[in-house]
């Protein structure tokens, strides 16, 4: 029998795609496998062990920087999501008005500037403010993280708002709902998945940040990524693999949640 002609087929594409997935997962798999290595150095496989997870768990610096990471990510993501939600409501579903393009550019600005440049800029400004005010707490990190989280939170919220049928709110107004009641009973419930997606995105982005944190942090303000960067520079033990594996699991968890939230269509 003649082979059916598949219009979608392109020669070699499937193999390249498989290769791509293989390349994407090979390093991660290696990393995870070696986290379970019962050996002091990474080099040689000595057998399965949870030993390095223990070591990491009992490492005060790891726990401390993890907690700091979560604190910063939670506060920054929340602040970013609230302000991004408000900004998204202000910049969608309207006739163009003076300042609208300016707002888009402004809000998305952190996405367009290389992280290292923002990091350097913040270092310059914050080091001056630290001298003036004498305050050197986590506030600087929270402010910096909030700023670069805003565009990430803004993205899915704005997308959700733009795909929302304007007629729904018109219908609510027609059915005697005031502006506030329309927002509360119609807009907000429909926007909720977008807000949640934005919040998770902002949280992950904050949790992942290395460069800006590295430049803004004061002494003793390591987050988990900056702590790990310092360790990798010094030469590595499987402890870093263990921490990475735990971090990886967390990321997968959040991505999975994100996936389901953003896929939920109404």
């Amino acid at each position: 029998m003649a082979k059916r002609f598949d219009v979608r087929r392109q020669n070699g594409f499937v193999s390249l795609a498989i290769l791509c997935f293989f390349l994407l997962y090979l390093p991660i798999a290696t990393l995870v496998v070696y986290a379970f290595n019962d050996n002091d150095s990474l080099a040689i496989w000595k057998g399965f062990s949870l030993r390095w997870f223990h070591v990491a768990w009992n490492n005060g610096l790891v726990i401390e920087s993890s907690i700091r990471s979560f604190q910063i990510a939670a506060v920054a993501a929340l602040l970013a999501t609230i302000s991004a939600t408000m900004a998204a409501l202000a910049t969608t579903r309207t006739n163009p008005y003076r300042g609208l393009t300016f707002k888009y550019a402004f809000i998305n600005q952190p996405l367009m500037v290389p992280e290292i440049v923002t990091a350097v800029a913040l270092l310059i400004v914050f080091s001056r403010i630290k001298i003036w005010t004498g305050y050197s707490g986590l506030g600087y990190l929270v402010a910096a993280h909030t700023a670069f989280c805003v565009p990430f939170a803004y993205l899915p919220i704005r997308a959700r708002l733009e795909s929302m049928d304007l007629a729904l709110e018109t219908a609510a107004a027609d059915l005697y709902a005031t502006k506030w009641k329309t927002f509360r009973h119609v807009t907000l419930p429909l926007l909720w998945p977008g807000i949640l997606a934005g919040l998770m995105l902002a949280f992950v982005v904050s949790l992942d940040d290395v460069v800006i944190t590295e430049f803004v942090k004061s002494g003793g303000q390591d987050t988990l990524p900056t702590y790990m960067l310092g360790q990798i520079r010094r030469g590595v033990t499987p402890e870093i693999n263990a921490i990475s594996t735990a971090f990886l699991l967390l990321s997968i968890g959040i991505v999975t949640a994100f996936f389901f939230v953003s896929r939920k269509r109404t």
């Binding site: 219009v7 408000m86 290292i116 310059i124 290395v210 996936f259």
Partner: protein
């Protein structure tokens, strides 16, 4: 009593005021902790370096001069700053190479995902998103696991008898390139997929119906249709590659610097903040040029499609 048009104008004014009020917090935080400081960087690039980092408030164009030229310590002659230029050149060429390689790998992958049956696409997409959301440092570190002297590649080479002693892969340009391709690959696949998902395969059928070969269908139908995705993906990869800091630092060691690392040096050991500021602005200008190219490209294709 107010006439209808007065009511309408008042409503519009109220609406715009509310819209400014609502966007104020986001604008404020971005201004305070992102955009505002950038303006200060411009100021700093025209100051004199302080003795122990920071700056002296004296106007100077030295930083900008030294971005391009170097002054000989002994006879004060000025020549091109080959060290910095070579780093800029390495950054740009590595970023271009990263873009080309991610496109080569990413295009078939995105196409592969887009041509799966509907219910299975999400799974493949999910497999792309996981690395995307995994900490960049962790992914870079994972690449180090593969590349180091006792890593997978070297073990495999020795096991197969191709090499009898470890090949030095770490701390080379190759390592930086491999790391960046690895790290930025999902950024290429996702926008490519987004535009491939929209391909109307009846157009492809029409192509075959009109005697096109597979390659001609790819070149004359599919590629033109997904051009916006190719451009978006390339920009999304090129820009962060150019500003990459973590990947060259971990995989490139101290010798294979990119612009990002060079900037950092000025704020660390170099203690030359104005130079760091000038280099930052230079980097930003290159990025802006790339973005401008992108914007022009997308608006033009929008126009073409009506």
């Amino acid at each position: 009593m107010a006439t209808a048009s007065e009511v309408a104008e008042q409503a519009e004014r109220d609406d715009i005021r509310l819209r400014w009020l609502l966007s104020a917090p986001a604008l404020l935080i971005v201004f305070l902790a992102a955009l505002g400081p950038l303006l200060i960087v411009v100021v700093y690039s025209f100051l004199t370096p302080g003795n122990y980092g920071d700056v002296k408030w004296q106007f100077s164009t030295d930083a900008w001069v030294s971005v391009l030229f170097e002054r000989d310590v002994f006879d004060d002659t000025v020549s091109f700053a080959t060290a910095y230029l070579s780093i800029f050149w390495r950054s740009v060429s590595l970023s271009l190479a990263t873009t080309v390689l991610t496109l080569t790998l990413g295009f078939p992958t995105a196409y592969f995902i887009a041509t799966r049956p509907d219910h299975r696409r999400d799974i493949w997409l999910f497999l792309i998103t996981i690395p995307f959301w995994t900490n960049l440092l962790i992914r870079t570190f994972a690449m180090q696991e593969v590349l180091r002297n006792d890593g997978i590649i070297n073990s495999a080479l020795q096991l197969l008898g191709i090499a009898d002693h470890p090949v030095q892969l770490m701390y080379t340009n190759f390592a930086v390139l491999a790391g960046m391709v690895y790290v930025f690959l999902p950024l290429m696949v996702l926008p490519l997929y987004a535009s491939m998902e929209k391909i109307d395969f009846r157009l492809v059928e029409a192509g075959y119906d009109l005697y096109a070969t597979r390659f001609e269908v790819l070149r004359r139908i599919i590629v033109p249709l997904v051009t916006p995705g190719i451009v978006a993906g390339s920009i999304l990869v090129f820009i962060p590659s150019l500003g990459a800091y973590v990947t060259p630092r971990v995989l490139g060691g101290g010798t294979n610097l990119m612009i990002g690392n060079l900037i950092e040096l000025q704020f660390g050991q170099g203690r030359n903040w104005p130079l760091g500021a000038a280099l930052s602005i230079t980097l930003m200008v290159i990025v802006m040029v790339a973005l401008l190219f992108y914007v022009r490209n997308t608006t033009r294709s929008d126009g073409a499609h009506g």
